[in-house]
């Protein structure tokens, strides 16, 4: 017998607030979900390719590594994290040993289905100095219209000279509510790449906080966001430059179909002392329907003189000259638009080297574009 649980959450808060009427300062959500068993049943975990991924038997702080625990304080959003801690029913931790460079990606896949519509999970990744790995985390729903709930809290520490690529896939259909908070700390010369792929019709709230403490550390976020039907995506990327000579890039490309909506909050935050640091943000969303809502709040906060920060945000139709070029070669207008949409998303797809994953992303993407006649 499952009970319905409720919670009030305050998430996606902007580091610096803007006018209240814009309703972009943050999100106050009342959520309800079916209580799920504590340990994950096998059905929750569709695939576990790598023995390195250890289940977290208990999710108390003792079960986690010291460094990771210290990075808790860097969390941009206490509320979601404490909610996950209290209610988690699944969790994994992985440590990549010093100097261990693995080329085969670790894969962690979750499937939300009728038997397990609720997933509240935590993931802890500890990259020891000099290590390198790729982790692909997938979140999928088994059927359209299934009322499902996901809340996740991921902590990553990338040690000195280490390198982590995290690919997060979300293929969620209508009826799914998806809340996610990722917190990353980077040591000296550490690098972190996040590839965030969202293709679906669900309501997603994705928060990412990257703390570049180490000198010469780097991070890049590549996000592809294609939302359909009445779905919505709410991103809150906060990149803090603290160390000297740190570099960050945020690249967001998306398309909105039907009555979908999107809110992109991206912050480049230069702290005093982060000399010679560079941060950039580039967001472009194509609107493919008159009923869409597209919002952006790209922030640059700066307390250090010797830095370079820039951002570019654009929205709207596809380039009419490019469209004319394609149609002049006999390509139908809708097909030409589709080619241009794909071209826009291409820079993000290019970040995914795993052929299987790429094929799945393309299948999800093409299916949706096809369904709208593109």
């Amino acid at each position: 017998m499952s009970r319905i649980q409720r919670a009030s959450l305050k998430i996606q808060t902007l580091p610096v607030l803007t006018w209240r009427h814009l309703q972009m300062n943050g999100c106050e959500l009342d959520v309800s979900f079916e209580q799920a068993p504590f340990l994950p049943s096998d059905a929750l975990l569709a695939l576990e390719k790598e023995a390195l991924l250890q289940r977290i038997p208990s999710l108390s702080p003792e079960g986690q590594k010291e460094e990771i625990r210290n990075s808790e304080s860097n969390d941009g959003d206490q509320s979601l994290t404490s909610f996950v801690r209290k209610n988690a029913n699944a969790g994994y931790q992985v440590e990549i040993a010093e100097g261990d460079t693995r080329t085969t990606p670790l894969v962690l896949d979750y499937l939300l289905d009728e038997g397990n519509p609720t997933l509240i999970e935590t993931l802890v990744v500890d990259m020891q100095p000099g290590s390198s790995a790729t982790l692909i985390k997938g979140l999928r729903t088994s059927s359209v219209g299934l009322r499902s709930f996901h809340a996740g809290s991921t902590r990553v520490h990338v040690g000195q000279g280490a390198n982590l690529t995290l690919i997060q896939l979300r293929f969620l259909s209508e009826g799914a509510t998806d809340l996610d908070q990722l917190s990353v700390t980077l040591g000296e010369h550490a690098s972190f790449s996040l590839v965030e792929i969202v293709v679906g019709d669900a309501h997603s709230y994705i928060g990412t906080h990257i703390d570049m403490q180490g000198n010469a550390s780097e991070c890049s976020i590549g996000c592809m966001n294609v939302v359909d039907k009445e779905g919505s995506s709410d991103f809150n990327f906060h990149v803090e430059h603290k160390g000297e000579g740190t570099n960050s890039t945020q690249l967001v490309r998306g398309a909105l179909l039907n009555s979908a909506s999107k809110l992109f909050r991206g912050t480049i935050d230069f702290h005093k002392g982060c000399n010679k640091s560079k941060g950039s943000e580039d967001e472009y969303t194509v609107l493919l329907s008159p009923a869409v809502k597209n919002r952006s709040v790209p922030l640059i906060l700066c307390a250090e003189e010797d830095v370079e920060g820039e951002h570019a945000v654009s929205s709207g139709r596809l380039d009419s000259n490019a469209l004319f070029y394609l149609t002049s070669r006999g390509i139908g207008e809708k097909r030409a638009k589709r080619l241009l949409v794909e071209a826009q998303l291409y820079p993000i797809l290019a970040l995914v080297s795993d052929k299987e994953v790429l094929a799945e992303i393309e299948e999800q993407l093409f299916r949706r574009l096809d369904s709208h006649g593109y």
């Binding site: 610096v16 607030l17 803007t18 006018w19 209240r20 009427h21 814009l22 309703q23 972009m24 300062n25 999100c27 106050e28 959500l29 009342d30 959520v31 309800s32 509510t177 919505s232 909506s261 809110l263 230069f270 005093k272 002392g273 609107l287 493919l288 329907s289 008159p290 869409v292 809502k293 597209n294 919002r295 952006s296 709040v297 790209p298 922030l299 640059i300 906060l301 700066c302 307390a303 250090e304 003189e305 010797d306 830095v307 370079e308 920060g309 820039e310 951002h311 570019a312 945000v313 654009s314 929205s315 709207g316 139709r317």
Partner: protein, 468 residues
């Protein structure tokens, strides 16, 4: 059943309502009460509807909370402000009480003796009467009405009543409500159909003791096809013992009309500048904001354009320079609510010596604003690591075929540029000053020459950190 408290609702143009039932923001000891307001109105000999407007605004003032965003306004001493706003208060101090830095600035800027006292908050009246009357007469010949608000209320009551605080209602925010209750002085301009006003009008000409500009209200109405350039403020630092400026500017741009509204603001460093400026642009009309912000301790300034008619256009060019102890939170808002509207925003900011510049903007494209285009460009210059510069732009787009482009950049003066200028004989300080002036050039270009010259002098003084 889950319910989200915040949903992506349809933007309602008139939705600026902040009123809630919580505790009021201020408890006023010395009493901003009905009596004070009635006295003000009586002294000005106003029609009853204006008195009622003041009283309603007063009620609203107690209900509207302070904003949750932006600089901290704890330093605001409302009691003192209220006291000094009373018509019977003796505001005039002595020349000695004017900070030395300000007195020096007057000299540097070559301000004539007669003006100095007024600008220093010491003189009761600035004798620009001669100039003012001359200008009045010249434009009257074109059918233009140009006078102060008090006269306008007396001689053009219907026009004023039709427009007064319709664009910026008292419910808008705390200081709009305060303004509604205490407003005093200001300019009124009405340009008839098709008239191109031959000379720029300046608010500076007809300043007088009324409220010393603290709660000035500027109301400009352009009939279809009219054309006007209006200049507000002046480059010289303005000192006042009342540390709040809560003025209001309402601009009505009729069909096919064109208005350029330039401001060079340099309130002294004890001031809080919370001015509200808004323009409503009809079909094919255009508004051009040119704004230079140099003064104030704290500024919150966001000239806004409501593009309500098809083909309406808005342009904003602004620069703000925050030095020691200053927090300049400035920007602009543009709301496209009609088809084929266009807007462009170009802001520049400079932060130095611990100054804090915040560039805040908002561009809204409603569903009805088909085929609209908006471009926004923000550039911020940091001159040291004591200062802060934040860019907070927001875009809300509800129309599929709107074309929006936004870009922002933040950084420092390039070492290469400094080296290049120094290799040509300039000192480092001179090189930096020249580069900063170049940075401010687009604004200087849009101002009348005397202002441009004064602005360059201002920059020079700011770079030296010499203004009080």
């Amino acid at each position: 059943m889950k319910a989200e408290k915040t949903r992506f609702d349809e933007m309602d143009l008139s939705r600026y309502d902040f009123i809630n039932e919580d505790e009021p923001a201020f408890r006023v000891e010395k009493g901003l009460n009905e009596t004070v307001v009635r006295t003000i109105s009586k002294e000005k000999d106003e029609p009853s509807w204006m008195l009622e407007h003041r009283l309603r605004s007063l009620k609203t003032f107690y209900k509207v909370p302070l904003p949750v965003w932006g600089p901290n306004l704890d330093e605001l001493n409302l009691d003192e402000i209220i006291t000094y706003s009373r018509p019977d208060s003796g505001m005039n101090e002595s020349w000695e009480s004017v900070p030395e830095g300000i007195r020096d600035a007057f000299d540097r800027l070559g301000i004539p003796e007669a003006e100095k006292e007024f600008l220093g908050g010491v003189g009761a009246q600035f004798d620009s009467e001669v100039v003012y009357h001359k200008v009045r007469k010249e434009v009257a010949g074109q059918g233009v009405i140009y006078c102060d608000m008090r006269t306008a209320l007396r001689e053009h009551e219907a026009l004023v009543k039709k427009h007064f605080m319709r664009l910026v209602p008292p419910s808008d925010h705390t200081f709009a409500a305060l303004h509604g209750a205490l407003w005093s002085g200001g300019s009124f301009v009405h340009v008839p159909k098709g008239v191109k006003v031959s000379i720029p009008l300046q608010s500076y000409f007809r300043l007088n003791a009324e409220g010393a500009g603290q709660f000035e209200h500027t109301l400009i109405i352009l009939e279809p096809g009219a054309d006007l350039h209006f200049i507000e403020g002046c480059s010289a630092p303005r000192y006042s013992v009342i540390n709040l400026h809560a003025g209001c500017v309402e601009l009505f741009v009729g069909e096919g009309a064109r208005l350029r509204y330039s401001t060079v603001e340099n309130w002294s460093k004890n001031m809080m500048n919370l001015n509200t400026k808004r323009a409503r642009v009809e079909k094919n009309g255009s508004i051009e904001w040119v704004s230079g912000s140099f003064g104030s301790h704290i500024s919150m300034l966001y000239p806004s354009s409501l593009l309500v008619g098809e083909g309406a256009h808005s342009e904003f060019t602004g620069i703000s320079f925050a030095g020691k102890g200053q927090i300049l939170d400035t920007g602009t808002k543009v709301i496209h609510s009609s088809a084929h509207t266009t807007s462009s925003v170009n802001t520049k900011s400079i932060a130095k010596n611990g100054g804090h510049c915040i560039t805040r903007s908002e561009v809204i494209i409603t569903k009805a604003a088909l085929h609209s285009k908006a471009t926004i460009s923000c550039e911020s210059l940091m001159l040291d690591s004591e200062s802060r510069s934040d860019t907070i732009p927001a875009m809300d787009i509800r129309s599929e075929d709107a074309d929006i482009g936004h870009e922002a950049r933040i950084g420092r003066i390039s070492d290469k540029a400094i080296f290049y200028l120094m290799s040509r004989g300039l000192s480092e300080g001179e090189a930096k000053e020249l580069i900063v002036r170049g940075f401010a050039e687009p604004i200087a270009k849009a101002l009348p020459m005397e202002y441009a010259v004064e602005m360059n002098t201002l920059i020079k003084m700011e770079m030296e950190g010499s203004i009080g």
